[in-house]
């Protein structure tokens, strides 16, 4: 059964992840009163890129080619740790939430290396911002994970469902809020980064993959959409712990709906507010840390 969970998680993610991108952009377009790209746009892009050839810079080394594989691989491995439908994954174990964070780290490490590998100042800039935000967000992420681990007991991702119901509302809300913020930061969305300004200088994630092309770019896009999915799952599970009590099929539908909801919210946020000034972001990240800490405090010292 646990193996099934793994299978379902991975399969659903691999199928549905690029959809979220489409949803977000549809919402943004609707707000802007435009028609917007088709929902399946990202699928088309990936498929096309797969067939394209690559342009490699003379500067680059094998690192540049390894990076996409590692990014995708690490996210996939992270996905097999996720529980589902109230059941822990077969790979789950005590402390796997720490492993999850570190697995996501590998992808970032290699993406940054690939960016620096091209020797392009733009990508260096993007890398600088990316790792800076990551460094600031990591403690908050760990504290949120600590909330997850302790609320259900068992110190594992499976305890996302352990807490049956909202036994501690305040902490849950705070944790969900913090997780949502982390979701925005880690996936480089507004208000922390604007992925579709026309000038590379203002972007973080998009500028790092500036030199990737063809299948590499496809893998990168796919990996990042999977990452969105993964963080979305976390947000949903933290926000509604009771989802674990749903019957099996209902659970997956609920999950899909929930993550799409997160995507919609992302779209709304992106159209509602502008990007923060780059120098203010560290303080906001500290604010997120404060939220996480507070939720943990509510949980521990109630």
């Amino acid at each position: 059964m646990n193996l099934f969970i793994v299978f379902f998680n991975v399969a659903l993610a691999m199928l549905a992840a690029p959809l979220m991108w489409g949803i977000t952009y549809r919402v943004k377009a609707w707000f802007a009163g435009r028609h917007g790209p088709p929902l399946l746009q990202l699928y088309y892009d990936i498929a096309k890129l797969m067939r394209r050839g690559c342009v490699y810079s003379r500067t680059t080394t094998p690192i540049f080619k390894i990076a996409p594989a590692v990014c995708l691989g690490s996210v996939l491995v992270a996905l097999i740790l996720m529980p589902g439908a109230g059941i822990s994954s077969w790979f789950g174990f005590k402390g796997d939430l720490i492993l999850l964070i570190y697995l996501l780290g590998i992808g970032r490490f290699f993406m940054v290396l690939a960016a620096l590998d091209t020797g392009s100042p733009f990508e260096g800039m993007g890398a600088a911002r990316e790792i800076q935000f990551a460094a600031f967000i990591e403690p908050s992420f760990i504290l949120v994970m600590a909330v997850v681990g302790t609320s259900g007991g068992g110190l594992s991702l499976s305890s996302l469902f352990g807490g049956t119901g909202y036994h501690n509302i305040a902490s849950t809300i705070l944790a969900a809020g913090a997780m949502m913020m982390i979701y925005l930061v880690e996936n480089a969305r507004i208000p922390f980064d604007d992925p579709d300004t026309h000038l590379e200088l203002t972007m973080i994630h998009e500028v790092m993959i500036l030199d990737h092309s063809g299948p590499d770019l496809a893998l990168m896009h796919y990996a990042s959409s999977l990452k969105v999915w993964l963080y979305g799952m976390l947000v949903v599970m933290i926000a509604l712990p009771t989802i674990g009590l749903f019957p099996f099929w209902l659970y997956w539908c609920a999950l899909l709906v929930g993550i799409s909801l997160v995507a919609v919210i992302t779209g709304i946020i992106e159209s509602a507010m502008a990007r923060f000034a780059l120098l203010d972001i560290p303080h906001i990240l500290l604010g997120i840390f404060g939220m996480a800490l507070l939720s943990l405090a509510f949980l521990l010292y109630r």
């Binding site: 067939r51 050839g53 342009v55 490699y56 810079s57 003379r58 500067t59 080394t61 690192i63 080619k65 390894i66 594989a69 590692v70 691989g73 690490s74 491995v77 097999i80 740790l81 790979f91 174990f93 005590k94 402390g95 720490i98 492993l99 570190y102 697995l103 780290g105 590998i106 490490f109 290396l113 620096l116 590998d117 091209t118 020797g119 392009s120 733009f122 990508e123 260096g124 800039m125 890398a127 600088a128 911002r129 790792i131 990551a134 460094a135 967000i137 403690p139 760990i142 504290l143 600590a146 110190l155 030199d211 063809g214 299948p215 590499d216 780059l278 560290p282 800490l293 521990l300 010292y301």
Partner: protein
């Protein structure tokens, strides 16, 4: 037990033999550590599996008397880095054909063997005098090793700073041991009595400062960032990988010698560790000299270890024995792992310095193409030190993390608070470490070379790659198989997941290669928005990469900025450099010592050369004593 005493003797012999003016004396000097590795490892492993301990006491003539020697699990754990890094470093040092500068060969091997012998003596001795003997031998031999290139001023300064730090430390350690011994006649640990709490706390504080100075815990770390760049690469590898650990060993030993701990000891260890970890990594990522960077990251890692120790003590105080045990296990794992990847990184840095002669990473770049194997090993080291799976840096931090989460469930107020502190510090450290080492790897190894020295540097000779290869291989193997040793939780899954990860990534890599091969690929220049006049100098520098962070953490560092704006009709070259220096050294200790010096100079008038005054002193002291005693 006997084997280690024999090895100590052997090392001493090799040291002295390497001094002789005979052919191949260097070879003798190198054989010492290698033989020690060959001879010592089996015993260490038998110890680790059969968690027993050996004891032996030998009767020396005065001043030592009857000395106990003891080899238990703790010694075994700390013995592994000693033997391993000692062996590899010796091999590396032996294979350096073109030294970084003119190196006087013989003394290095003398002091190297003495250093190893001293550390081994520390690890096996259960006797104050023997311990201190080994400690001091370690201290001064390492001082002379640091001063290998003593012709250079900064090297001498570094050595002097180190020696001052270590000697003040040893004075405190001596005091701690003497207090612990109290009125007891003989110097053996076994015969010590348990001191009452007041004295015990004093002893702990003294030992903490004394050993912390060696382990490089903030604020006693100031010698590290000076000493490591000064010494040759493989020496720094030993200093950072082994000698700093001995400081930790001392703390552990003192904790073991005093069975009754107090909670606030754990708190102090934890706080010191947290401060060291965060401060160390922040300064590390601000550095431009890559050996200084590695030195500061040593501070960070020892901070992590001592955090683990502190949490262990706390957990034991709040009666969670299993968890405290696991904390100690995690620290032990990190001790071994850090020795391995830090040794690897320092030796790789040594090779790079050797080939390019550049200390400043902002002037390097593109070395992955120029010295592929060394660079690959260095890359592995960087990934490992960031604690990334599937390398060995992960497991230690993982154990400490999970136990920290366990502590959150304790009902008292203090333990969860400590755990939250530890989790935060560890998390922040992890994130910043990734910044720091993606900077190291990305700027030095990737991109285009930023200076001529980096442009035309050539691979090192195979002898220098071999030890790096060993260590890099260990990084991977230990990363995968070390979890299997942890029977406490289902850690074998970690190994499994790591293997899946590796397989998956390689699979994806080859798949995308097939895809790419099917289509037709082109190579060109990096995308530059159509800007044509580009040069390698417009690449992102390491300082630029971390600028947002250094700007954020500015208050913690001493910013030394030197600007030269080009001016005039025919302006010459302009310059702009910012160096981030250690606040604690410059604003703390330097000021203190200057103050002492000034006081002394202010009192110079006492010896003014006037005979009348001298006689006056005599008369005054006489009268004073008469009044004082006869009143």
């Amino acid at each position: 037990m006997g084997i280690f005493l024999f090895l100590i003797a052997l090392l001493l012999f090799c040291g002295f033999a390497s001094l002789l003016r005979i052919k191949g004396n260097n070879l003798i000097g190198i054989m010492g550590p290698i033989a020690a590795f060959a001879g010592g490892m089996p015993t260490v492993f038998t110890m680790l599996v059969s968690k027993s301990y050996i004891q032996q006491s030998i009767n020396f003539p005065f001043p030592f008397g009857l000395c106990n020697f003891e080899f238990d699990i703790v010694s075994a754990i700390f013995m592994i880095p000693l033997l391993l890094i000692g062996m590899t470093a010796a091999f590396y040092g032996g294979c350096i054909c073109k030294p970084e500068h003119a190196v006087p060969g013989r003394p290095i091997w003398f002091f190297f063997n003495l250093l190893m012998a001293g550390i081994m003596l520390i690890l096996v001795s259960a006797n104050t005098l023997m311990f201190l003997l080994g400690w001091e031998i370690m201290s001064w031999s390492s001082f002379f090793l640091i001063c290998t290139y003593h012709r250079k001023n900064e090297v001498r300064t570094a050595g002097i700073i180190y020696f001052i730090a270590t000697h003040i430390g040893v004075l405190l350690i001596i005091t701690a041991f003497l207090l612990l011994q109290g009125q007891v006649e003989d110097f053996n640990f076994s015969s010590f009595l348990i001191p009452e709490s007041g004295i015990a706390s004093v002893i702990f504080i003294l030992a903490l400062i004394g050993f912390g100075a060696k382990a490089g815990l903030v604020p006693f770390h100031v010698w590290l960032p000076e000493a490591h760049p000064a010494a040759p690469g493989y020496i720094s590898a030993v200093l950072s990988g082994v000698m700093c650990k001995v400081g930790i060993y001392g703390i552990v030993r003192i904790l073991l010698l005093m069975p009754e701990h107090q909670p606030w000891w754990g708190w102090i260890l934890l706080l010191l560790g947290a401060i060291s970890a965060v401060y160390g990594i922040i300064l590390a990522l601000a550095q431009q000299d890559f050996k200084r960077l590695l030195a500061y990251s040593t501070v960070e890692n020892l901070g992590i270890i001592s955090m683990g120790l502190g949490m262990g003590v706390l957990a034991a105080e709040y009666d969670m024995p299993d968890i405290s045990r696991l904390f100690f296990v995690g620290s032990a794992l990190h001790v071994i792992n850090h020795a391995i990847f830090k040794g690897l990184l320092f030796m790789a840095a040594g090779s790079i310095l050797n080939q390019t002669g550049e200390h400043d990473l902002n002037r390097l770049g593109g070395l992955l193409k120029r010295m592929p194997s060394t660079a690959t090993f260095m890359l592995i080291g960087c990934a490992a030190i960031c604690g990334l799976p599937p390398f060995n840096g992960f497991i230690g931090e993982f154990v400490i993390f999970t136990q920290g989460l366990e502590c959150l469930t304790h009902e008292s107020w203090y333990l969860p608070a400590a755990a939250v502190l530890m989790l935060t510090a560890l998390g922040l450290t992890g994130g910043l470490a990734m910044v720091c080492f993606s900077k190291l790897a990305g700027i030095i190894l990737l991109g285009e070379p930023r200076s001529r020295a980096a442009e035309d540097c050539i691979p090192v000779n195979p002898g220098l790659r071999f030890p790096l290869g060993i260590l890099a291989g260990l990084c991977l193997c230990l990363g995968i198989f070390l979890p299997l040793l942890l029977s406490d939780f289902m850690a074998w899954k970690i190994s499994l997941i790591f293997i899946i990860l590796i397989v998956l990534c390689t699979g994806l890599y080859f798949w995308r290669r097939k895809l790419a091969a099917s289509a037709h690929n082109r190579t060109g220049i990096t995308w530059d928005c159509g800007y044509v006049g580009g040069s390698n100098r417009i690449q992102y520098t390491g300082s630029g990469l971390v600028q947002p962070l250094t700007r954020f953490f500015k208050p913690l560092m001493l910013r030394k900025k030197s600007v030269k704006i080009p001016s005039g009709i025919f302006p010459d070259k302009g310059r702009w450099s910012i160096i981030y220096d250690d606040l604690i050294l410059d604003a703390g200790y330097r000021q203190l010592f200057d103050a002492i010096k000034n006081i002394c100079f202010k009192l110079r008038w006492i010896q003014s050369g006037h005979l009348n005054r001298y006689i006056l002193y005599i008369a005054l002291v006489l009268i004073l004593l008469l009044i004082w005693e006869l009143l």
